[in-house]
């Protein structure tokens, strides 16, 4: 129907304009935000003397710097023999640009390997969604991943291929809504037929006919010999 098509075309056009204006590229969504990973810092203890190297404590910290003010949807990475991961975020709330950014814990000790000594989960891919985080990851300027591996079985541990995916900005309201309201005034909607329930009922009817067809494949026959009401000479036996 031409009204629907016109409406859809106008919406699409508006949406594209909006998308360009929000400065979000397709790359952000598919490959993640461009972020810089600092080299992992392994924490050691003992070794107050800078010359002697202390024991490895099994904790490693990776800092990830982001362009400021990002809203995070998902963090994905590939594990490499890390047993537990914690995520801390440095956030700056949007109203207080001048105030110092605060660190908070988004995720504490999420297990990646069921048993730190064994191989299970050691090289798996993981993703951390914003719903799993204890704080809202909005206005994030920096992420700190704290990796822990208490087992001495592994020489080293880290995470690889860390990607941060931002949240898609909702389409800016206002222009689209005004347009749709106007279109609805000009072309009122017709035919509020409940297609879903009609489809449901059709499927029930189809299923009933299938029941009948499946039972008929098992049906015996009465054993008639006549074809169209008369006996076929070839079927009559001579004995």
């Amino acid at each position: 129907m031409c009204t629907c098509h016109t409406f859809i075309f106008l919406c699409y056009y508006e949406y594209n304009c909006d998308r360009e204006q929000s400065k979000m590229s397709a790359d952000d969504v598919t490959k993640g935000v461009a972020c810089t990973l600092k080299p992992p810092v392994f924490l050691h203890f003992g070794g107050g003397d800078s010359k002697t190297q202390g024991c490895c404590s099994g904790v490693c910290v990776i800092d990830v710097a982001l362009p400021p003010g990002k809203t995070i949807e998902t963090i994905t990475f590939k594990n490499f023999y890390t047993a537990l991961v914690s995520v801390r975020l440095q956030r700056r709330s949007p109203g207080q640009e001048g105030a110092a950014a605060k660190w908070c814990t988004a995720l504490r000790d999420r297990p990646l390997m069921t048993n730190p000594h064994t191989e299970a989960g050691a090289q798996d891919y993981y993703s951390i969604d914003r719903k799993q985080m204890q704080v809202e990851p909005d206005g994030v300027s920096s992420i700190r991943l704290i990796l822990k591996q208490p087992s001495s079985a592994w020489l080293t541990f880290s995470v690889q291929d860390v990607r941060i995916f931002p949240r898609m900005q909702p389409v800016r309201k206002g222009r689209i809504d005004e347009l749709s309201d106007w279109l609805l005034l000009v072309f009122p909607p017709q035919d509020p037929l409940d297609v879903a329930s009609v489809s449901c009922r059709l499927q029930q009817m189809w299923a009933l006919s299938q029941v009948m067809q499946s039972s008929q494949s098992h049906a015996a026959s009465v054993g008639r010999f006549d074809v169209d009401g008369c006996y076929d000479i070839n079927l009559l036996s001579l004995t």
Partner: protein, 313 residues
């Protein structure tokens, strides 16, 4: 007070021997003995099992019918025991009695068939078996002498009884006779034929499914027509029926299970809401004008179903 003894042949279940003795002190022991002698436990257990299977809306009426049919079975087998073999008896009185008994058996068979819905496979199957046994020869021992047209001894249900059963089932399911007539033509068996169990079961199941199908078609018509606009638009009805026809044709018989599964997926895609919406908007733009009334819609839907029923041979 007279002692009354009711004894019946061991045809199908417990014996109902109730001896009324002179009244004595009602001790617990004698009560329990009396109940076990009467076989009341079996009776009640059977009644409760049937009730759970059928889940009727009117439990008292259901129990009354159940015990009534049991009593009728007792009377019938009792009366046949008493009568002598009537090989050459052709009096009209007996014909009338036989006709009445046949009608009674038909009613009882229909009552059994109504107990469970066809979707409850095992319960329905059991009921069909019971109905079949009721309608085929008089009792499982094939009493000689009942010269009603019941086919060869040990055969099956007579074609006439079978066709009558199907007709009653369709009628009770709310299908008008004109709509079910083509179906009965396909499932029909001649009066002289002995219908085996497989054919009987298939016929009964098809009629039960058909009555459900017609009910769904009636509701579908109610959905398709806009309530305040009177009869539904012809274009919309044709579009909906066309979708169903395509789905039925897509899922025709397939040999291998994988092909069957594929065809079922294709069929369900043809009935999806998206496809339906598309088809209906096209129909409204280009379809024939005018309206279709409920009867025509029902007949068209019935035709789609009946076209897929194989003729009994």
């Amino acid at each position: 007070m007279a002692d009354r003894e009711k004894r019946r042949s061991a045809g199908s279940g417990s014996c109902l021997a109730a001896t009324v003795a002179e009244p004595g002190p009602a001790t617990k022991g004698s009560d329990r003995e009396f109940l076990s002698q009467a076989g009341v436990g079996e009776l009640l257990r059977g009644a409760l099992l049937k009730m759970v299977e059928a889940r009727p809306d009117d439990p008292v009426g259901f129990l009354a019918d159940h015990f009534g049919s049991l009593a009728a079975a007792v009377v019938e087998s009792g009366s046949e025991d008493l009568k002598e073999p009537r090989l050459s008896d052709g009096s009209s009185g007996d014909e009338g009695a036989r006709g009445a008994r046949a009608q009674q058996r038909l009613n009882r068979a229909l009552w059994h068939l109504r107990l469970a819905h066809h979707s409850q496979r095992s319960a329905f199957g059991n009921n069909v078996r019971v109905a079949y046994d009721l309608l085929s020869l008089t009792g499982p021992f094939g009493h000689a002498g009942d010269s009603s047209p019941a086919g060869a001894p040990g055969g099956g249900v007579s074609g006439a009884l079978y066709t009558q059963t199907l007709r009653c089932l369709c009628g009770e399911g709310g299908v008008p006779a004109s709509t079910s007539a083509p179906l009965l033509c396909r499932l029909h068996c001649h009066d002289h034929e002995a219908v085996p169990y497989g054919v009987f079961r298939h016929g009964v199941l098809t009629c039960a499914v058909f009555s459900d199908y017609i009910r769904q078609a009636q509701r579908l018509y109610a959905q398709v027509c806009q309530p305040d606009e009177g009869p539904a638009s012809r274009a919309a009805c044709l579009a909906v029926l066309g979708a169903l026809r395509e789905a039925l044709e897509t899922s025709r018989d397939a040999d291998s299970p994988s092909v069957k599964a594929l065809r079922r997926l294709e069929a369900s895609a043809k009935m999806s809401p998206h496809q339906l919406a598309r088809v209906m908007t096209e129909a409204q733009a280009r379809g024939p004008a005018g309206h279709m009334d409920a009867k025509e819609f029902e007949n068209a839907a019935a035709e789609l179903f009946i076209a897929r029923v194989k003729v009994v041979s």
